[in-house]
Symmetry: C3
Subunit: 379 residues, 3 copies
């Protein structure tokens, strides 16, 4: 082989397919919707709904020693009843690109990797953690506000370049990420452009870990927040994003912190994010956060359960992108059949709020409460 | 390994990709369409049309000993000419989810398996048989009426849970399925909800086989109706579905029977379904069925042919979802190059009818007749 | 095994997944757009844009000794800013079918193969060459006019049947392709039909090579135009297409020639196509072509560079599908890390023109110039 061709990875044979499925059976109570034009909100009948809450298929590979690649397709919310209490859009069969990126390790150790493509700007632990991996029934609804504020997209991905890495010494690990993105959702009319004015979106996140590391190898994906009683460690993350003048704001900020604490059987995590948007006339603030706790419980050496509780809170100024209050309480139990790869969950979710946000707009819809049984399968 | 993690299947290595293609060359004669607003139906020019009638790609796997998984994507009707005599919609490049489910065998034998996800409610042999596997040129057009009546969707899938199994004793085999589904197509306005009122869709099917079994292992998929002269057996299936009050009906029923008869070279199958829908004011009935016969013919020990004929019939009340009559006659020959996996077919299809259905609405279109050459490849 | 079943290929194990990614960072200067209804064209702010210019995933396989199969899905232009100077549409997450075909070799040698499905009618070297393989920053913008003229589709694919093959003797190789397609974009109103009137689209291409062959095995795909200084040969191609009466024209023609010349370090190619469309009232002509040259440069036996320049030109009659002039100059350098499979490129593109075409319509947009950094990864 000529010297000018880089060597392919000796283990690389083909692009490897991956697939996952999160199947939900939910029973919704107290959902309200505006059923006639300009009419009042009416209660719809309580209902059972089977849905594929999330499903992904994709390919990943590592063609060269330092270069890995992933592309993931989603067909989330298949079969979701528009009048169920579950948040998010409905889907009657559509597929979409979720992630498509390549990561090139540029240092000999884990200190520096460059990621390019369409992926999560690295901000907010809840946003960047794998969707099927959290121990609450669903991810905290607060992540929707954070994503919409920063990227303007429900899925929160953007195209750009991220530099990141991690380094450990004794009991302390530092992990960092800084990325620059072009954010095509800041036009008045067309979401596929940044409008007449353009500013880059710059996002960064640094985490400090004391005790067992959160992960040994650098990656832009974050694993389950349950380490099955194997980890004793705490990780604190500091997040920020900034974007300058565009058609829809003069500047836009987010900042906050998050915590992951695993100590034997206890799994506790939380996050608080502060969001600020300036227009020529005014400044709007939003705040979003959650706290979540689980406790690993092994029954007769055969059944690995985790009772879990989560509370979430969102508050937004009148006139902001989202306003009023949105609160959720999730209480349930997870049964890990094969760690995160095969899991059953039974949870009960209550929701309340007011204003104009994802819980209600006080005119056309108000989400109900629901009980849910989930089956998660990762392959 | 800890006792509380279930073991992965020893043969499981990766998610396996699958693909299939059904390529048609058709020549349409006598198609009529309304070419101008409020104008008369005019004859369009007879035409050749090449189309990918059906194409699927997907992944399947068996991560655990008793758990299997499948996801299938369709991009059917690529290149279909709107004015060809072939039924169904057109497609200029769109993909959609066809199936996504997991099946968990809960008994030690084949007696009981639970399937969850987005899949065919198990009713009507013609509906649940693999689309590329029938010995007529296409599946019977009657299945479109059955699917629309029960699930309100062209592809006939729904999200839900199905319990099924099979058991054999001597020459008799019984196969059963019963499923509950949430059916999001029963709102007046929005197909992505069941509307203000909700009722579950309950579907069941039982088959009785005398002689060779139809299949040895339980599955929610049904194979080709040609057993290449290896089977001597008859299978009779009884089907029913019921759904209660929703926004668009007060109750909705379907019932019927189907038969598959293979005796050496003869392959005969048929189906008759009766559909009933009650609204507050009235009751509407529809009936649909087909009969199909093929005869295996081996020429010089080298060419495996099957001459085949199918007649289909649909009748619906005035005011029902579909009304009038729709009849098709299909005469042709299949050349099995490698059983169902590689097949050529040459058929001639004539169609007639009246009313408001998939053959004609008596105003804007009337399907023509066509000759077709098909190439089917399964991988 | 019975004699009537064809044998599967001994090496065939499964459908093999493939993936590729072309990631661009561009900086656009001087883009103009109409930002208000009926307003003037205004300069938008110069901008950085990260985009996945092209990305493909798919499956391919060779189930039988003489039969191969490919299906390819695209999710091009993810993250493209509408106001960047890059041509083509925008994409916020949609997937589409790019190719789906099977090729059956009917001769013992490479003389004759039949391809059926949805694929490129074999005309114009620039159209049929792999999108991520050219040595200019992007494919020549002239291919868009050729494709639109012949098939009416941006991606230029159609459903049909192609017969092709190649044969070599001494220093001369002849490669031919002739195909018939049903072209569903010739209706006044509906692109999913050929309208009231139908005519087949017939396309052919013959190439003559002197010296090293362009490819040893017949295929409907064309490789990179850089042979990494290994080829000494010239290939000249003659192209033509013809279609008769449809709703939108009485007849439609294209014809032209293309050249690929590789001699050691030099890689030169070019193309000239003439397009003619007759309606009952009039005849419209368009012309499109490009010339492109690269020179392979190896630095210290470690870095394989190719400085490259391309000029393109389009001209169309007033009233034709596209009119006026559209010119591009591309100057840049490619760094081949692992031949075509891993490549970095840095180019500068200037564009100019007038009329109603892909560069400008003189009313709502005028493309800017841009500098671009590309990363291409094929797996």
């Amino acid at each position: 082989q000529e010297n000018y061709w880089i060597k392919t990875d000796s283990l690389f044979k083909y692009v490897q397919p991956v697939a996952s499925l999160q199947f939900w059976s939910t029973y919704t109570m107290g959902e309200k919707d505006q059923l006639t034009d300009n009419g009042p909100m009416e209660s719809v009948q309580d209902r059972l709904n089977f849905l594929i809450r999330r499903a992904r298929i994709g390919f990943k590979g590592k063609p060269y020693k330092k270069l890995s690649y992933a592309v993931m397709i989603q067909y989330d919310n298949m079969g979701k009843d528009r009048f169920s209490a579950v948040r998010g859009s409905t889907n009657t069969g559509t597929l979409g690109i979720l992630d498509a990126y390549a990561t090139w390790r540029i240092s000999k150790n884990e200190m520096a990797s460059l990621t390019v493509g369409y992926f999560h700007p690295q901000i907010s632990r809840e946003c960047v953690t794998g969707d099927l991996l959290v121990n609450s029934f669903d991810k905290s609804p607060t992540q929707a506000y954070i994503r919409q504020h920063i990227t303007g997209k429900g899925y929160g991905r953007a195209t750009g370049i991220n530099l990141g890495g991690l380094t450990s010494k004794h009991l302390v690990t530092i992990d960092y990420n800084v990325g620059i993105f072009s954010n095509n959702t800041t036009s008045e009319e067309f979401t596929e452009t940044s409008g007449k004015y353009w500013s880059p979106l710059v996002v960064d996140r640094v985490t400090f870990t004391v005790g067992d590391t959160e992960k040994k190898n650098y990656a832009i994906n974050y694993d389950a927040n349950n380490y099955y009683s194997k980890r004793k460690g705490i990780t604190v993350g500091l997040n920020s994003s900034v974007q300058g003048k565009t058609d829809i704001f003069t500047s836009n900020y987010a900042g906050g912190f998050d915590v992951l604490f695993n100590y034997g059987r206890w799994n506790i995590d939380g996050e608080w994010m502060y969001m600020e948007r300036h227009t020529e006339a005014q400044t709007y603030n939003m705040k979003a956060g959650h706290i979540r706790a689980g406790y690993n419980l092994i029954i007769k050496d055969k059944i690995f359960l985790e009772p879990c509780v989560m509370v979430t809170n969102f508050e937004g100024d009148q006139g902001a992108q989202f306003s009023g209050e949105d609160r959720m309480l999730d209480v349930g139990v997870n049964w890990y059949l094969n760690k995160k790869n095969c899991k059953l969950s039974l949870h009960y979710i209550t929701q309340q709020g007011h204003g104009d946000n994802n819980y209600t707009d006080d005119i056309t819809f108000k989400k109900g409460d629901f009980a849910g049984l989930a089956f998660v399968l990762l392959m």
